[in-house]
């Protein structure tokens, strides 16, 4: 023992250098941009904050988001030339899959930064913390997308989640926001524990947390007894299902979405979900590929449950934010159908769906936020009462008259705000999967991937659930476009600010452009392959 120690010390003599891992700085640019940007923003505002306008933080975050998107395009091209690599001792993978998710998260950060600008002004929540947390949380998401090691993945998950817990509770004067943050935190910590224990079990079974090692080890079939490994699967899945809000791990979603600040909800529904799916695809479809037969049935059942329960619950909601929360659960179920296929086409379809849904979710929640602001202005006296109420489906009915997101507020919206209503119509139709929107091709790609993987019944059920959930969006559309009978007073909804309008216009343009011409985006997703380089 002493001898061995002596040998080690002998190696670290002044003449020989410690072998540090090579660092591919270029590949780390997106990470550095987001994390560094967050820290820098915090510093700037601590030091010279009083001389800066509140818009500065928003534009700064917007620029960081765009830069992240731009750097992922550069990386994408580099990978095309040099192939996928890994860096930091193989801890971080640099492949087109992670770069795709990185770009997606960057774009979402940029859009959410614009949305937050108006939200903060309207709600008088002065401070830059929202932007800082947004950037840090996005860093965690990007880490999750590129993690080549279960420990790194867990780190990313925590960096992402802890920031989002605080973001959910960001609205200090609203008890619903506090409640949302609290619920999310308690349940998130609970499920993180499952995840961590799963990592431990897999380490126990395989002897490594490195995904490439695990993949080779399982491929070789050198595992005699797989009890530990399969137990690890179960617990990892619990953590991931919680993040993507799959039934029965979904219960937090409607409460948290309803209570959290709307820009944060837009971020949660798009970027957080994308990061969760990235982890699921990277770990299960790529690393645990040779154990497909064991985990696919679980995804199959969970996908079914998630699609149908999400859709059914959405239909009976009267609060639009809650309705969209349940509909996002239903969408997650749809993406799980692509995961279940566990083929390259399935991964591509899931990525297409994630990109399409990210745009739809950001746009939809932006509109919901605008309408809610208008509604709050028009019955400012009543809102105070509803704030004290706790959120749950069972109590949602009691305060519906005063809820700023109640479906009744959308009645006759098309007459007062035709352009906004038309934009919302496009986004809702896209969610329903109507042709010439991205939603159609996303669903089409998922279903055809499932059919190619011979999961015919799942494909059929996915189609049925698409029909059922179409009802959710039609209900909202009908409310918007049928004339308002009772409420004759003009809605006091102001003209959307330029920033909010830009966000909605961009998301609608994305939804229509890639709905009419899905080719480009589809080619990108087809090339975004996962590569586990050791």
């Amino acid at each position: 023992m002493m001898v061995a120690a002596g040998e080690i010390f002998a190696q670290i003599s002044p003449s020989t250098l410690v072998p540090t891992p090579s660092i591919d700085w270029e590949a780390l640019v997106p990470y550095l941009l987001l994390a560094g940007g967050g820290v820098l923003l915090l510093m700037i505002f601590s030091l010279v904050g009083k001389w800066l306008s509140s818009s500065f933080a928003s534009y700064f975050t917007f620029a960081i988001g765009l830069a992240t998107l731009g750097s992922s395009f550069a990386l994408w091209r580099r990978i095309g030339d040099e192939g996928a690599t890994s860096t930091l001792s193989g801890m971080v993978g640099v492949d087109r899959f992670s770069v795709f998710i990185t770009g997606l998260i960057g774009a979402v950060v940029a859009l959410v930064a614009l949305l937050s600008h108006d939200y903060i002004k309207r709600e008088r929540l002065w401070g830059t913390e929202l932007y800082v947390l947004l950037l840090l949380s996005a860093t965690g998401g990007v880490i999750m997308a590129g993690a080549n090691d279960l420990i790194v993945l867990f780190l990313g998950l925590e960096v992402l989640s802890i920031a989002v817990y605080v973001l959910a509770a960001m609205h200090l004067r609203r008890s619903t926001s506090q409640e949302a943050g609290m619920k999310y935190f308690v349940l998130g910590a609970f499920s993180s524990a499952f995840f961590l224990y799963g990592v431990a079990l897999i380490y126990g079974a395989v002897g490594s947390t490195k995904l490439s090692y695990i993949a080779d080890f399982l491929e070789a079939g050198s595992l005699e007894k797989d009890g530990l490994l399969l137990g690890g699967f179960a617990l990892l899945l619990v953590g991931m299902f919680f993040k993507i809000a799959a039934v029965p791990f979904h219960a937090w979603t409607p409460d948290v979405y309803q209570g959290s600040p709307t820009p944060v909800v837009a971020y949660m529904a798009s970027a957080v979900k994308a990061a969760g799916f990235a982890a699921l695809l990277r770990v299960f479809v790529a690393a645990f590929e040779s154990y497909q037969g064991d985990w696919q049935p679980i995804i199959y059942v969970i996908a079914l449950l998630t699609m149908f329960a999400g859709g059914a619950m959405a239909i009976v909601q009267t609060d639009v934010k809650r309705m969209l929360a349940y509909s996002s659960i239903s969408h997650a179920g749809f993406i799980l159908v692509g995961v279940q296929a566990a083929t390259d086409d399935g991964v591509a379809a899931a990525l297409f769906y994630l990109a399409a849904y990210a745009a739809i979710a950001v746009g939809s929640f932006a509109i919901v936020g605008m309408v809610a602001a208008g509604a709050r202005d028009s019955n400012a006296d009543n809102t105070g009462e509803s704030m004290g109420e706790s959120m749950a489906d069972s109590t949602a009915d009691s305060n519906e008259a005063t809820s700023e997101n109640h479906i009744a507020i959308y009645r006759g919206l098309a007459k007062n705000r035709p352009v906004l209503s038309a934009a919302f119509m496009v986004l809702l139709l896209a969610q329903a999967g109507v042709p010439f929107t991205t939603g159609f091709f996303a669903k089409f790609a998922i279903i055809s991937a499932a059919a190619d993987a011979r999961s015919f019944w799942l494909a059929v059920f996915a189609m049925i659930s698409a029909v059922i959930s179409a009802f959710i969006y039609l209900r909202l559309l009908v409310a918007m476009y049928l004339p308002d009978q009772q409420n004759t007073s003009e809605s006091s909804l102001e003209k959307p600010s330029i920033l909010e309008g830009t966000v909605v216009a961009l998301t609608v343009a994305f939804t229509l452009a890639f709905g009419i011409i899905p080719g480009y985006l589809y080619d990108l997703t087809q090339e975004a392959l996962i590569a586990l380089v050791p």
Binding site: M182, K183, V186, L187, F190, S191, F194, E224, K225, D226, G227, L229, L230, G231, F233, A234, L235, L237, V238, F241, F242, P248, F249, A251, W252, P254, D255, D294, P297, I298, F308, A309, G311, A312, M313, A314, I315, V316, S390, M391, A392, D393, S394, T395, F444, A445, S448, D452, I468, F471, I517, P518, G519, Y520, Y522, D523
Partner: protein, 667 residues
């Protein structure tokens, strides 16, 4: 320059988009000018592509320009790409050219309409769809354009939808076309099944992969589709009613361009027609002939000037079908072009007359208008001579080609078609004489011609009878029955309306030079179209002398038609009711019979189906709906809002997952 083909379709799309955003703000006349400019730019682009193609060798005159991959999924890969070849560019040239003129005309015609900018939005969208239809390099994109023009046609027929008749005419066109579209759609599926591709060049590269039976099935279904869009038997009934739309729309969509789409489609897939069984083409030719005859006889007895022109259009489209059926593709395209010129001219001329006569469309209230509307009268007269087949006007040359093709195929076909040509000369002469010559039957002079009035009343009575069978006719009857009096003397239309008339009149006069029959070297159109026709053009199997005799016979026939009309309508040697038979006025009762069947036994059958739909299908759907609702309400009770119950859900889920995996594990 042939790479610019995408510009042709882009221009009207830009016009459409700009008008959609700011059309109302631009207002009259700027919105219309913008639309006209867009179409004119598209015409310029077509000319550039045409020049580019001319610079290439004959065999290389087929350039594909891919914009982007549209449906990239699996086996079915469809690109949005344009095919610039002689056939498509010929179509694009006359579509954009005629469209530009009609846009210009509409500036005057739609003056003061409250939906002025909306009209041009639709018009530009129509031109865009039509160009997509002809420029596409695959069946699916063609179908998209096909549906696009259908929608525009529906929107424009019922443009003045305040009037119930216009709205229902639009619906009738839409529904009838659906029958044809169904055929087209199934043909697309069959083609994909047989060839594994929808791209024209790939399909035509090797047509031997399909049996003649499959090819026959595809072609028959395409004929059904073409019959819907090009208003042939058994689906022609929508076109006469479609005249409810504004006159420029009738000229552009229901005479010059959209209705020729069926003919274009059949010419486009000529390699498939070549593989199909012979009897399929015979059916095509006889459908065309029957339509040509029925519509020509119906045109004889119409009082509404636009109805005469509508039946005339159907009849002329029948000529083109015959041409395709006998393999004279060049003749079909040739007649399509000349017809576009002279029929657009006639429609625009009729619009000018209607405009001058305070929206009166009944020819028995016209008469002697030549001296009031000199420009309209002269240009309309040129259109008349062109369609009647009087040399040297363009219609003579193209119709002669079709007759020669028919003679080559079947003598009986030729004889009957010649009769239809004679009827054409007769009914058009009748329309011209009733409108521009004779004594005036309007305004203060109306009372003088009591004979004419009684005749009109008789006729209106017949019309009322028809209308009891068919609601759609009500408006026309109302139009005809209402005794309008023109307070002031009719005046000539504004220059924006007359200019297109003059240009079209020139074109209708000289378009014959496109393909003169004298020597081989003057067959310009035939040589130009050759690369698109893959040597499928039928070769005439008779000597040049026969051709001259046939031409002479055709000239005699058209002069005979005009001479008979002179006897009846100018010299009045016999009462006109000898030729204006009731059965003609009702178009052989075809439309009524369909309406009666559809409204009687058909309706009862559909009621039964609707009942089944309500009880059966809707029951299932509603059942699923309420099941989902119940399920949702049931699930709601778990959404308590309490963190501990949510955590319990997660824990239970974890336990189930663990249990499942452990059950599969080996320890």
């Amino acid at each position: 320059m042939e790479r610019l083909v995408w510009l042709i379709a882009l221009m009207p799309l830009i016009g459409f988009a700009l008008l959609l955003v700011g059309g109302r703000r631009l207002g009259e006349p700027r919105a219309g000018l913008l639309a006209t400019t867009a179409t004119a730019a598209s015409f310029v682009a077509s000319v550039l592509v045409f020049i580019g193609l001319l610079g290439l060798e004959g065999d290389e005159r087929s350039v594909t320009f891919t914009l982007f991959s549209w449906v990239p999924a699996g086996d079915l890969s469809v690109d949005v790409s344009f095919l610039a070849d002689p056939l498509s560019i010929t179509m694009a040239l006359f579509i954009t050219g005629v469209s530009t003129l009609i846009h210009l005309y509409s500036l005057g015609y739609m003056h003061g309409d409250e939906n002025f900018s909306k009209f041009f939005i639709y018009l530009n969208l129509f031109v865009f769809s039509m160009l997509i239809l002809v420029l596409s390099d695959n069946l699916l994109l063609t179908f998209l354009g096909w549906e696009g023009v259908g929608v525009c046609s529906y929107l424009l027929i019922s443009f003045w939808f305040g009037d119930e008749a216009n709205a229902s005419a639009g619906k009738k066109a839409f529904v009838t076309n659906r029958v044809g579209d169904f055929g087209f759609m199934v043909a697309i599926f069959l083609t994909f099944g047989a060839f594994g591709t929808l791209n024209y060049n790939d399909i035509f590269a090797d047509t031997s992969v399909v049996t003649s039976t499959t090819a026959s099935a595809i072609v028959l279904l395409l004929i059904l589709g073409a019959a819907g869009k090009s208003a042939q038997l058994p689906l022609y009934v929508w076109l006469p009613d479609a005249m409810a739309g504004p006159t420029p729309v009738s000229a552009l969509i229901h005479a010059a361009t959209m209705v020729t789409a069926g003919v274009y489609l059949l010419v486009r897939v000529n390699p498939l027609l070549a593989v199909a069984d012979g009897w399929v083409l015979d059916i095509l030719a006889w459908i065309g002939l029957a339509t040509a005859l029925i519509a020509a006889t119906a045109a004889i007895a119409q009082r509404d000037i636009k109805k005469v022109l509508a039946y005339s259009t159907i009849s002329q489209l029948g000529f083109m079908f015959v041409a395709v059926g006998v393999g004279s593709y060049t003749a079909a395209i040739f007649h399509m072009i000349t017809h576009a010129f002279f029929k657009a001219l006639l429609f625009l001329g009729s619009g000018s007359v209607i405009h001058a006569m305070d929206n009166e469309q009944n020819m028995s209230r016209y008469g002697g208008l030549a001296k009031f509307l000199p420009v309209t009268a002269v240009t309309f007269g040129i259109g008349w001579l062109a369609i009647a087949g009087v040399p040297p006007f363009s219609g003579f040359w193209s119709k002669d080609e079709i007759l020669a093709g028919a003679w080559n195929n079947n003598k009986l076909l030729w004889a009957l078609l010649l009769f239809a040509a004679m009827l054409t000369a007769f009914y058009m002469s009748r329309a011209v004489f009733m409108t521009f010559f004779g004594e005036k039957r309007w305004g203060a002079g109306a009372g003088n011609s009591s004979e004419n009035m009684t005749e009109t009343d008789e006729h209106s009575a017949a019309d009322v009878e028809i209308s009891s069978a068919d609601d759609v006719e009500v408006a026309d009857t109302a139009n005809i029955g209402a005794a309008k009096t023109v307070s002031t003397a009719p005046h000539e239309s504004p220059p924006t309306m007359l200019m297109p008339l003059v240009v079209l009149a020139l074109l209708a006069t000289v378009a014959g030079v496109l393909n003169l029959p004298f020597v081989k070297s003057t067959h310009f159109l035939e040589k130009w179209l050759e690369p698109s026709l893959y040597h499928n053009e039928a070769q005439l199997g008779f000597a040049g002398g026969t051709k001259w005799v046939l031409a002479a016979v055709a000239i005699v026939a058209s002069f005979a038609g005009i001479w008979i009309a002179v006897q009846f309508y100018l010299k009045k040697v016999a009462p006109t009711r000898l030729v204006e038979l009731d059965i003609f006025a009702r178009a052989w009762r075809y439309d009524e019979t369909i309406t009666k069947v559809a409204g009687g036994p058909g309706r009862r059958a559909f009621d039964k189906i609707a009942l089944f739909d309500r009880r059966g299908v809707d029951g299932v759907v509603n059942g699923v709906g309420s099941l989902v609702q119940t399920g949702g309400h049931w699930l709601r009770q778990f959404q308590t809002g309490k963190v501990r119950s949510y955590a319990l859900g997660i824990a239970l889920g974890a336990v189930i997952l663990l249990a499942y995996f452990i059950a599969r594990a080996s320890f």
